[in-house]
Amino acid sequence: MLSRNIRLLSRRYSQAVTFRTTESSPTQQNENQVGLFYTMNNDVCKQLFAHGGLPKSFMKQTKTFTETALMVRLPALDIIDCIKVTDLNKPVVRYVLYGEKGAGKSLTLAHLLHFAHEDGFLIVHIPWVSDWLRRLPRDKEMSNSQSREGFVDIPLDAAAWLLHFKMQNQVLLKTGDLKTSKEYVWSKRESTPAGAPLAELVEHGIARVKYACDVIDVLLKEIKLLSNAKKCKTFVAIDGFNSFFYPLTRLSTPTKKKVAPEEVSLTAPFMEITKNDWTNGAIVVTTDQLAVPEDRQENYLPKYLLYQKGFEHLDPFVPMEIGRYTEREFLSCASYYRDRLWLRGPPELESELKLASACNPYNFMELCAPL
């Protein structure tokens, strides 16, 4: 990976490029590299983000630029430092990333996921909560939950998530010492014995879509126990967490009654795991304006987006604001786009674009698109 970068660089530009860094491991990155782009390994990308995780527009960019490059930014570095320094015997610390639309929250989360993966954490990652709760009803398949009364199940999404979990944690599931603590009976003929590896549980959930939601429930409980028992350290990353607390979802029961998020069986396990009653891990959560419908999108602060219930649930947490590009970051991003042939034109463009996009990363990307 490194050598390919160097080859490309020497082929295209002989002058020193100031927007790239060759340090591609998040554990080694420090403040010298703020504003510089590092390229992620393609295999790692596929492993971590096969079923989501990176925003769709960014996926298109990766295809055009033929590489996945993330910018190292201060909020991510701060959180990485915090996680490195935390005492893992204490209860988990919760970090909440917040910012305007398009400030870079999802990409920061991706950066942190990369770090977690390198550091050997067990990753529990929901790429985008609103996918489950707010997608159009005609694309969804729902059923009434069996193990819980009056709850709604989303089996296909649950199965997809289990696949995602499996891909992300391939290494750990194979080599790690992760075993269930008790026996689970699914039906007359199916059961998972105690002491079975977690991988088996996951396989079962994927194979038997009907029980996928319950599998997830069980899985997360097990993970909590295992973290407490210091068998593995867990990294929980949830994008669009405030969607769990919005009063309505787009789902409705066959009787046409609107369902609240609390009645969806998938919310419960993730509520459990985001409580701070376990140790040996870290929780990072983002609150996004886009996770709720447009008439509730007045403010981007967590207090507004999480509503009272979510705030109480998450309290206390460490808030982290993801701001817009600074001067240096902006220039570095502009030169990266020029290098990738995405932005062409005279140099005066940059000052104009800086003003017009007001240094918002997403706006900048959109403005550069037709140029």
Binding site: T64, R344, G345, E348, L349, E352, A369, P370
Partner: protein
């Protein structure tokens, strides 16, 4: 002109001058009738290149004395403004929805860029790479150039029959026809494909001298050539 007047000094030269009469300081009106601003307001010149030209001739101070109309809502002096793109957006616009039209055209340019960058990366040799145009605006200019008709067919009625007579075409009209044909071809798309995607394909085809629009222009030229015999009907 002067030599002619020398020979025919008796004849009033106003007749000879009548064809191309245009005093230097009369501006070309954008609209034929009166507009909100009175006649003596001049059209604005806000592009940096055009202003530079004026500064060379030292005309700037003279023009600054007369009142000038303000530039329109979608015109800026920034580097990435192109009057042709503006015109295109206006043609795409329906029911006054400028923002939507602009978004569609910008997405189309983005698609063009992505396709071209992909081709660039796939191209092996340096010459092939150099031939690929990566700027979507250049592709648009090239496409429009390739789609412009050089003649048009006018229906002229002689002796009860309407003949299609080839006739010259002004630049403005040929530009209009080129844009209209491009948009017609794009709107003939399938339901599932979005406008920007189809438009990007049409632009790339036209820039490459292939595709539906260029074919339409070539058909028109062929018809003009075929109807050459009727050309004199314009003056009968």
């Amino acid at each position: 002109m002067n030599s002619i007047r020398y020979k025919l000094s008796g004849v009033t030269c106003s007749v000879l001058q009548a064809a191309n009469f245009r005093p230097a300081y009369i501006q070309c009106r954008l609209y034929s009738g009166p507009t909100s601003f009175p006649d003596f307001f001049k059209n604005p010149i806000f592009r940096k290149e055009e202003q530079a030209k004026l500064i060379e001739i030292n005309e700037l101070s003279k023009l600054a004395i007369s009142p000038v109309k303000p530039p329109g809502v979608s015109e800026t002096s920034s580097v990435y403004y192109d009057p042709l793109v503006n015109k295109l957006i206006n043609h795409v616009m329906k029911m006054g929805k400028k923002q939507l039209a602009r978004e569609l055209v910008e997405k189309a340019f983005e698609n063009v860029k992505r396709i071209q960058i992909e081709r660039y990366h796939l191209a092996s040799s340096a010459e092939a790479k150099a031939k690929i145009i990566l700027n979507p605006k250049d592709i648009l200019h090239q496409a429009i150039e390739n789609c412009r008709p050089l003649l048009q067919l006018l229906p002229i009625k002689r002796g009860g029959i309407v003949y299609q007579v080839p006739a010259p075409i002004t630049e403005k009209r040929s530009l209009f026809l080129a844009i209209k044909w491009l948009l017609d071809a794009t709107n003939d798309k399938e339901r599932t494909i979005h406008f920007p995607q189809q438009f990007a394909w049409e632009l790339l085809d036209a820039a490459n001298n292939t595709g539906k629009v260029v074919k339409r222009k070539q058909d028109l030229h062929r018809q003009c050539e075929a109807n050459r015999a009727y050309a004199h009907y314009r003056w009968q």
